[in-house]
């Protein structure tokens, strides 16, 4: 039996004005298990706390009920006091007789009666409390960043600068990501490569950063502070230590007609290739699917021309297993497929391109060496049409319901750059809304209109029809003029919706990080924890969490890094002791609880149990205390009641219910 002490606070007159605190103490004494009750002016004061510690010692209390303000205010204060007095801090319960009683009731009789009942409920609960101890888990001082775009690079750099080891896993042959494909960046119009390349170099040169390119995450196990990850290094067929990056192999490779991923299919590359000139590492890979040697066994030219002897056709995929304390997901995005949008004739005309393709066209290292020209006939365009919201804000199955956020700004950028470089080209932008929140963003858009004479028309395009003369007939509407527009264009640029990179679902599943219906990773709290995933120890950086532009991505990368650093800086993690616990004798092993656990904290083990003499191996739910956050979803879904929540157990809550309804 517990020996319970009840401490009723006056809170000056905040409580005592509408609650007869003496009576609450008196009545509490009549409850089973209560051996001490007193009231005091300010229970939270030094003197008040001292009364608690004294009473604990004198009356040998095992449980404490404080009738005072909200537990959100002083629960920690009283738990600490209990600990000082030598009893477990979780043997304290608070009856909230201020916010939930004295402050809302005027009649002293009513207030007192309710306070007595609230005290009674807290007493009933504490009777069933058990000492709880926060668990501890160790922290591996190493972080993993999945994705080597600007988000991943920035996060890695920030973590490395704080002195922790970081590994970047990038699935393509080089880091750099989408940003390396861009020509200029808004709203300053500086060259993307000029600001990105130094970061790439810095990352590759950093002694705390280790980059795995052409690699993917294969498997993840463990939990916050102690993840174990298998990384698959795909066979590059080039020995990275020997290769000097001279490029002769690519030059001599006879298989040159392969569509270049980096140039969005607008250019060609060879079978042994580096995606772009500034690639890091500057080591080519052999694309085995297209390599003649791998397809037919003949050729082998690259091996012959390589003076360093770096070509190695026998290389195999390699699995590297590494431990991490924190994982940052920075998997980025791609543009959506346009196959279903046949009204824009994207698949019919080479002169209808996506904005990302335009970036390549405008780039000096791109397929047209930076000349703006039609891809069908190489002619300089006279009239260009930009169409906004292609697949964005679209609730049908073709598109995405969300706003892709970056299109308004990059379209303004493209329009401006074209008008700047080719003043005789007419640029028309069809938009639904122009969204420019951001520093210097609206100014930027207005400059495109006011200084560069870009023609913005409010209204969607209904149809783009390729004409026999090679022109594109654009049928649109000007909603402000209430007129339908028919105009010829030489080129049409589609501001295509962006979506999370295809592999992210697989990664999210491995990490048990939740993902929304659009495949964006979910944040732990949309406002207060935007860079953390609900899965402890997993952080989000960049577009994998939601559409964002470069400055925002970099900002988020930094804050994800800070969160990771905050975790890595800890020697040990204290875990919340109010976690779920499965009773192995009652557990059916049915997996229903794991289905509702948002943290992937529940796993199953085949374990031998002794059920009152029956020994058998059973499938049993096991809760990982480091992962469990104590929401209790599992406890309700468990039909046998095997799963319970410590600190808020079934019997504790029922005791409160009973005490209130008595």
């Amino acid at each position: 039996m517990q020996r319970i002490g009840v401490f009723v606070c006056h809170c000056g007159s905040n409580i005592s004005a509408t609650v007869d605190v003496e009576k609450v103490a008196q009545m509490s004494l009549l409850e089973p298990g209560v051996v001490h009750a007193e009231d005091y002016q300010y229970m939270c004061s030094e003197a008040g706390q001292a009364r608690i510690t004294e009473a604990v010692k004198e009356k040998k209390l095992t449980g404490i009920v404080v009738c005072s303000c909200s537990p959100r205010m002083h629960e920690t204060t009283f738990r600490n006091a209990a600990e000082r007095a030598g009893i477990n801090p979780y043997m304290v319960e608070i009856a909230n007789i201020r916010e939930h009683c004295s402050w809302i009731h005027k009649n002293i009789e009513e207030g007192t009666e309710k306070a007595i009942i609230l005290a009674r409920a807290a007493i009933a609960k504490v009777t069933l409390n058990a000492p709880l101890k926060p668990g501890e888990s160790r922290v591996t001082k190493r972080a993993l960043v999945i994705g080597g775009g600007i988000a991943g690079i920035q996060t890695a750099l920030d973590i490395a600068e704080a002195g922790y080891e970081v590994d970047i896993v990038e699935k393509t042959p080089s880091i750099g990501g989408r940003m390396s494909q861009l020509d200029k960046t808004f709203p300053t119009l500086d060259c993307s490569a000029c600001i990105l390349t130094p970061k790439m170099v810095e990352a590759s040169a950093h002694d705390k950063i280790n980059i795995y390119t052409y690699s993917e995450v294969d498997q993840v196990s463990g939990f916050v502070g102690d993840f174990t990850v298998d990384i698959r290094k795909k066979a590059r067929s080039i020995n990275m230590d020997k290769c000097t990056g001279c490029g002769v192999c690519s030059e001599k490779c006879p298989s040159k007609k392969i569509s270049s991923e980096f140039n969005r299919g607008l250019g060609k590359r060879s079978a042994v290739y580096t995606p772009f000139a500034q690639a890091i590492p500057n080591v080519p890979v052999i694309d085995r699917e297209n390599c003649i040697k791998f397809k037919t066994g003949k050729c082998g030219i690259c091996e012959k021309v390589c003076q360093a002897g770096a070509v190695d056709y026998t290389q195999e995929d390699e699995i590297i297993t590494e431990k991490y304390g924190a994982i940052v997901v920075a998997t980025g995005f791609d543009t959506i497929k346009l196959d279903d949008f046949d009204e824009y004739a994207y698949n019919q005309s080479k002169d209808v391109i996506t904005s990302l393709e335009l970036e390549r066209v405008m780039n000096a290292a791109g397929p047209t060496k930076g000349h703006l020209e039609r891809l069908s006939d190489g002619k300089a365009p006279k009239n260009m049409v930009f169409i906004q919201c292609v697949g964005s804000r679209d609730v049908t199955c073709r598109g995405k319901v969300y706003c892709s956020k970056i299109c308004c700004m990059y379209t303004a950028k493209h329009a401006m750059l074209i008008r700047d470089k080719y003043p005789d080209v007419n640029v028309t932008v069809f938009y639904i809304d122009v969204r420019t929140p951001g520093k210097n963003f609206d100014e930027f858009y207005r400059r495109a209109v006011e200084e560069y004479g870009v023609n913005y028309v409010k209204g969607q395009v209904g149809k783009v029809a390729p004409q026999a003369n090679g022109q594109l007939l654009v049928q649109a509407v000007d909603l402000l003029d209430n007129k339908q527009i028919l105009m010829e264009a030489d080129m049409v640029v589609l501001a295509t919706a962006i979506e999370p990179e295809a592999g992210v679902r697989k990664i999210a599943t491995m990490l048990t990080a939740s993902i929304d219906t659009n495949n964006f990773l979910t944040e732990a709290h949309p406002k207060l924890r935007p860079v953390e995933s609900p899965t402890a120890g997993v952080f989000l950086s960049g577009v994998c969490q939601g559409p964002k532009d470069i400055p925002e991505t970099v900002a988020q990368a930094g804050s994800a890094a800070v969160k990771a650093i905050g975790l890595l800086a800890k020697e040990k993690l204290m875990t919340n002791p109010c976690t779920a616990k499965s009773d192995e004798l009652l557990c059916n092993g049915c997996s229903t609880c794991a289905n509702v656990c948002p943290y992937g904290a529940i796993t199953y083990e085949d374990r031998e149990v002794n059920d009152h003499g029956i020994r058998e191996v059973r499938r049993i739910a096991v809760v990982n205390n480091a992962l469990c956050q104590g929401c209790g979803a599992c406890t309700v879904t468990c039909p046998s009641g095997a799963m319970d929540l410590q600190g808020f157990s079934n019997r504790q809550i029922i005791a409160e219910v009973d005490a209130i309804c008595r």
Partner: protein
């Protein structure tokens, strides 16, 4: 006004269109082949329903210009489907002309052996909605 209100209600029932879903992108008007012939433009249909001015729709030229090509329905990114509103307005007209409903009992006397079965079914569908 109350007339307008009940008409609007009827319109929404017949068509199942939720005009609040419209984001006013104009795709319907951009895509409409008969845009220039219409007095009320496709993207405006929604506003008339929102403003509970069904009479204007019913009395518009557009009502009988629409080809029912359904391009606007096909392309609408918000599933508003303005073309359905035209269809709905037409039905209101049909119903107003009396003989609001077709009942199964009416069928035998109207039955012409030459009549294709499909026509009967679709007529039934239309006039019974």
């Amino acid at each position: 006004m109350s007339h307008g209100k009940s008409q609007t209600q009827k319109m929404k029932e017949i068509t199942g269109v939720d005009p609040y879903k419209c984001m006013k992108c104009g795709k319907c008007s951009a895509t409409c082949p008969l845009f220039n012939e219409m007095d009320i433009k496709p993207h405006q249909f929604v506003s008339y329903v929102l403003n509970e001015d069904i009479d204007a729709l019913v009395n518009s030229k557009s009502l009988w210009k629409c080809l029912s090509c359904f391009a606007c329905i096909e392309r609408c990114p918000r599933n508003v489907k303005p073309g359905k509103l035209i269809d709905g307005a037409r039905q209101l007209v049909v119903r107003q002309r009396g003989a609001d409903y077709l009942t199964p009992e009416d069928i035998p006397e109207r039955l012409d052996p030459e009549l294709p079965q499909q026509l009967l079914v679709s007529a039934f569908r239309r006039y019974r909605r």
